[in-house]
Symmetry: C2
Amino acid sequence: MSEITSAQAYAAELGLAARGAAEQLPAINGARKNAWLGRVAELLVERSVEIEAANQQDLAAATEAGLSAAMIDRLRLTGERISALADAVRQIIALPDPVGEVISGGSRPNGLQVSRVRVPLGVVFFIYESRPNVTIDAAALCIKSGNAVILRGGREAFHSNLALGEILRDALRQEGLPEQAVQLVESTDRALVGEFLARGDLIDVTIPRGGKSLIERVCREATMPVIRHFDGICHVYLDETAEVEMATEIVVNSKCQRPGVCNAAETLLIHRRALDRVWPTVASELSRRGVELRCCEDSLALAPGAIAATADDYRTEHLALILNVKVVASLQDAVAHIRTFGSAHTDAIVTESVAAAGCFETLVDSSAVVVNASTRFNDGGELGLGAEIGISTDRFHARGPCGLQELTTYKYVIRGTGQIRG
Amino acid sequence: MSEITSAQAYAAELGLAARGAAEQLPAINGARKNAWLGRVAELLVERSVEIEAANQQDLAAATEAGLSAAMIDRLRLTGERISALADAVRQIIALPDPVGEVISGGSRPNGLQVSRVRVPLGVVFFIYESRPNVTIDAAALCIKSGNAVILRGGREAFHSNLALGEILRDALRQEGLPEQAVQLVESTDRALVGEFLARGDLIDVTIPRGGKSLIERVCREATMPVIRHFDGICHVYLDETAEVEMATEIVVNSKCQRPGVCNAAETLLIHRRALDRVWPTVASELSRRGVELRCCEDSLALAPGAIAATADDYRTEHLALILNVKVVASLQDAVAHIRTFGSAHTDAIVTESVAAAGCFETLVDSSAVVVNASTRFNDGGELGLGAEIGISTDRFHARGPCGLQELTTYKYVIRGTGQIRG
């Protein structure tokens, strides 16, 4: 009982502090927010040794706990990585301040001047994996967009996050911004997350990053809106007219350039009439790069070393060098497959036909529809957002990469000279 | 058990049918949607007598059930009202098609052409009060924005809605649009609503309109995003420099022009240094119009016939000719009161000071912040949206009046010439 009460009290304390800061942040201009970003970058470099020492504690615990080499690598902060992190913060300085942007506006017949003005969402509760660099990135994006943020990082990065959180708060104090604008959850108790999710009165949006079970739990318990970052079951469709060389490059890049991320391709669809002409070259190039091909009957016959796909494969986000392959009779069949098996994340067509490209663009309803390019371009940096806090798989509010704009909402400002309604 | 099963099956049937239509609607161009709107307007006029006959059944039942005169009036459809409804549908024809609008876009350094393109949300579940005209308005807005809609109107309008639903569906069939795009819940069983709220897999957004308990229930049970339409506890603040005549006109209009709606003012805040100069005139004009004044101590002394306000009054949406009045020491105090007691719906300042106007605009975070005009202008028609399906009191996705744009989301369209990521 007393533990529950203290968890409740802790969530309330952080939530109220963040809410208080969020009320002050919209009035802080871009220059002051940029000064804070600059100060964060400076402190990162200045305190590089302390950060590495804290990180060493996490690395030692991770090694002892037997974490995978990949996880340990994601956890590691070196002098070079800290310096790159400082550079990433400085790049956010150059992005335009979203707060105060006039999204649309004009005069009404009665002379009222109406503008829709971008304002911060308020308080962001951000839950993320054990990658300490994300602590800095997320706080930088939230403060630049005028939001207060409650950071709940993975427990493996606990000590690193404490050191980084101190920098974020010190910089707020030094630059005269509300210190409470960044709150670090200094506990890795999972039950505590529920106490934050219950405070829809204090928190405006929760952004969970990590495993599917975490995101499902957050969606179930949250009393505020959630920006979900779910599966990427992404497709490349080779249309009847696909050119062999372009098809090969795009499929290989979509699958192999970084197979473990959400915008990597999981399934290749091939128009029946392109099969003989295109597939042998694509298959041989994929095999050469160690990709396991899980094929339908028709594509299997032309791909030495491939294995038969199961129905489940087409619904699976492999996140590995495995590619499902299926032959379709038409573009419409490809679209139907994508609708049934896809996750509306990123889907690409390779075609020489302008009609096919237009048809695919209209009929496929994914956060990114790509014509003649790699699926890997559905990314905040690549699309010009500058940086992203996640890639939304929702349709509501924010879709695809979430950058500064996606962390805002708007209000109407109506300026009159005494108008009343008749 | 069998009733639950059949309720589940019914929700699934309507949801699947709507989902199927929603997959076809994005590809239907604006001219065809406008042809449908024109056909709906024609059928309304052609079948005016049948609609009135169906409406008579509802009116008879409502009279027998002892509904208030105001409720019966909202339920009533006359030939004149049906003709006005047809005109309202024709006005939606003139609004630009939101689907396919390029919201932003440009070329990336690698030559990729990126556009953010507006697309429909998908399937809208709309729950609304017993006003049959809303059946037509809502369907018109949903179809024009490319969404399928499941309509669940108030039970008092049951027969009227059946007649109107038939027109909507007949027009879809006649114009070759997917007939399943408009689904009418032909049952007034409240438990059935829960079955729809459970189908986040088939329904993209629920928009509940009506009493607070309905909206709270929907938020609790919904497995999809909800656009809420909650309280409007709106303020008018008379700043130190407020001009007497303008202040009087704006306060009277905000309170009296239509006291039963969400953008009517509920509380008047007055700067202490404007009190003697402004308040007696404003108070006398309000009293003359039958407004009950519930005052703080300082304002009470200057308003003959006023009564003392309780703390609860300042949190109450009266929706009647009752106005809370409070004297504040500064603009900052006015802002603090609005933050504590308001509902972030619509708040206005009357001032001659450009500094005060700017400060109020920045510090007040409501869906509409109004300078020197009536709060009654926070309305889709008045702000140039054309028509609205509700006024959102949420911060997420849509804020304030929800018109065609607010019923959409977007996708990224990325056009390349073979680009891959390095």
